[in-house]
Amino acid sequence: MSQSNGLTRVASDCPAPTTQRFCAFLVAGRVFAVDAARVTEVLRGQLLTPVPQAHRALRGLLNLRGRIVPAIDMRLRLGFDAAAADASHTNIVVTVGGEYFSLMVDQLVDVIEIPVGAIEQPTADSDDPSRDSVAAVYAAASGLIYLLDVDQLVAGISDTEFERKMR
């Protein structure tokens, strides 16, 4: 799981007391991260049951030890092209308002410590479709890390295909 791409070094380089832990992952070649406190576990590929008429980024439901967890395809959610059908992915299970959701990412990078002071507001890049859920950015040694707002990730898929068709 651990990647030697400089991100782990970030954590040790900045042992400032005011750091926040993030769970970093790859989606379409970019590094995103979510608050590690919201992550409950990380799973390998799981059998998914599609949910017809749901948002297209809601790829299906998985069975997490008897608990039904919706899985969000992060490529689609962040506005990238869908992954190849046979591409492997990792499920990062997060909690939102007492419910569990799984974020389907290409690859888990690592859990990283980010100094709170180094977290910056995202630049207004209107071309970026993932902008609605990017809460902040952090310039790591290896490049930009987009810090995502988990609540916004989930809230953004509450409108449905059915409703869109109706409009």
């Binding site: 059998l47 998914l48 049951t49 599609p50 949910v51 017809p52 008429q53 749901a54 809601l58 299906g60 439901l61 998985l62 069975n63 030890r65 008897g66 608990r67 039904i68 919706p70 308002g97 419910e99 569990y100 959701f101 989930v154 898929i157 509450s158 449905t160 295909e161 059915f162 068709k165």
Partner: protein
Amino acid sequence: MNENEEFVREFLVESAENLDQLDQDLVALEENPRDPKRLASIFRTVHTIKGTSGFFGFAKLGAITHSGEHLLGQLRDGTIELSDRVTGALLTLVDAVRSILETIEKTGSEGDADFRDLSQTLARVADEAVAERQDPRRGDIVVTRLNALPAEQPTVPQTVAQPQAMAPLPAAAATLLPTAQSALAESPVVEPEPTQPVVATAIAQPKASAPAVVEASIRVDVGLLGSLVDLVGELVLARNQLQSTVNSDRPDVLKRPDLLKVVQRIHAVTGGLQSAAMKTRMQPIDQVLSKFPRIVRDLAVTCGKEVQLLIDGADTELDRSLIETIRDPLTHLVRNAVDHGIEAPAVRTFKGKPPSGRLSLRAFHESGRVTIEIKDDGGGIPVEAVRAKAIARGLIGPEEARSLSDDQVLQFIFEPGFSTAAAVTDVSGRGVGMDVVKTNIEAIGGTVDIASQRDVGTTVRVRVPLTLAIIPALIVTCAGQRFAIPQAYVRELIALRAGSSVSVEGLAGAPVMRVRGRLTPLVFLDALLDLNMQSVGHHAEHSTVVIVRVDDYEFGLVVEGIASSGDIVVKPIAGLIVSLGFYAGATVMGDGAVVLILDPRGIAQKAMIPARPDQEHASDASTPAPDAQPRYLLCETVSGRQVALPLEDVSRLEIFSSAQCEQAAGRMVVHRDGRLTALADLDDMLEGVSEKRPALGFKASAAASLTAVIVAESLGDVGLRVKRIVEVIQSQSPLSSVLCAAGVLGTIAIGGRATEVIDVRSLIPGKPSLPGAPSLSRVSA
């Protein structure tokens, strides 16, 4: 006596738990003496035991807990501070209470032990702690004495009035103890008799063999139970996978009979574990019903009535989540019965009934559901008042009101804001309630029925499922995906096969099907869920129609097939999936896959299924209510004319291939159910009737298939050929018969457009339209 015994048991179980909690609380309090929450909790517990012991006449228990409460009161008020001595005294109190409870459990009475010393000590500690906390020596003595106090200390049998036996008391205790003494004096059970009271023997006997009461049941955190059930579910899945591995005829497995034996054993144990785990969710309905004697008593007093409450079947079990849900609706129904149902004693006497009314609550299992019956022998619901109110509120027209039966009229009390109570009382009659009762019960898949007879009484039957956690369901397949439909909503299953007698329609726009003489709208699940957009013809071939009834909706859900049926464990799903409106939950199948549970109510709304106007009328189409909204089948004729046919004149819709049709005696006929049905083109017929010559049959067209509307059987074996079916509509628009052509009843406005309503009867030879014909009494053509 029996009832009392039951209460004593409950008291013992509860108190035993409370005492354990007290121990913990006291210990925790020592570490954090000023924790007001802990103090309040301890105070409450001691107070509860004191109150209950007074109720049962356990005087010693009452006396010592009273002293303890006094001490705790001072602690709580901050008059004294917690010291070792105080804690010690309190812990001794706990031990003493425990010992008395044990004696009660064994013998049914408090026994001979004397606890007056303890009462004194508690009082003294309370007092001394205030005055002279600086005297450690005295405190030591107290503690020593308390610790030395044996629980089963045999002492001189206690006599009631013995204030002189008390040691000289400090001021605080002096004010306190007389109360305790008087409690002792008043109590009837104080004197330990050589022969035990009846209650005592009754309790004592089963004790000999049965495990102690306190061990027979324990309280378990509900969340823990939930996770236990989840884990068992996981185990069942793993077991299933294990079994399929073993059953896979692998040679290495077959060589191991010991392995097979173990697997078999795991199979059996897992099954047992599963059913036991599910039972942990079940609780007796008594949890709700036991509150009613008090509620009814208080209400009867408030309303100046006499009510005799009978409760039957309190041990009927249902899922604990349901128990909470039915509590409020049942309370409401009981309040209604006492407040509105049962008459005042004078009225009852006048009517020749006994002055005291009877209210019976009966709970029982019935075909996999729990029925709770609330029955009173009161004045009944004034049907005429309901009728008048319904008219006044504009729910029905005066005409329609007259035609509705009393039972139908009664249904209006479930309308929001409907009340017939002459006076709004404190108790009920504000007109809120029955609709909420119905909504709440229906939300858990239950039903509410009401029957009432003037001066005889009212019976309300609430039927709820046993559990929401495990429900029987039908697993259907559609476009390769499985879905579950709760059996509670499934009325029947109809297989659609090409050429079979039930194979019908599947016409774009407004697919319908005649089921048991009623046109039922169809919903194609694959189209609704956008699973795959196959051609319409595909459906008619191999499909299954699940006739679903929910609330006022009845429709046929067209699916590919039925995979299985059985009990499923309902799992909650994320709110954003529920809000899609199609799904009620999900379940995990034996193979570990997640299957969505369809929500028929939501589907009916999404598919815009019209609510059935009224069940009775729809099934009895020949006598429609004069004011009921008529329904029409809208279709387009071959020439492109849009016409409406009264739905009661339509039997079914069919598509025939041209190969099925043949010419016979100059007519076009088709073989159908072993009969010959004459086919006629609707255009031709309309033309023919205007030329006063009936036309049956038409020139065979080149079309490979033709769509026909088969008319109601009472009109003859005739099919009317049309180009296509548009939809079924319900029209409020009045039928206007001004300037209408022959064969046309009149016109109605559909979507702002005047559409001709065909007088089907007049088109069929030998069935002339009669003035005032029952099928369409509105207009005579």
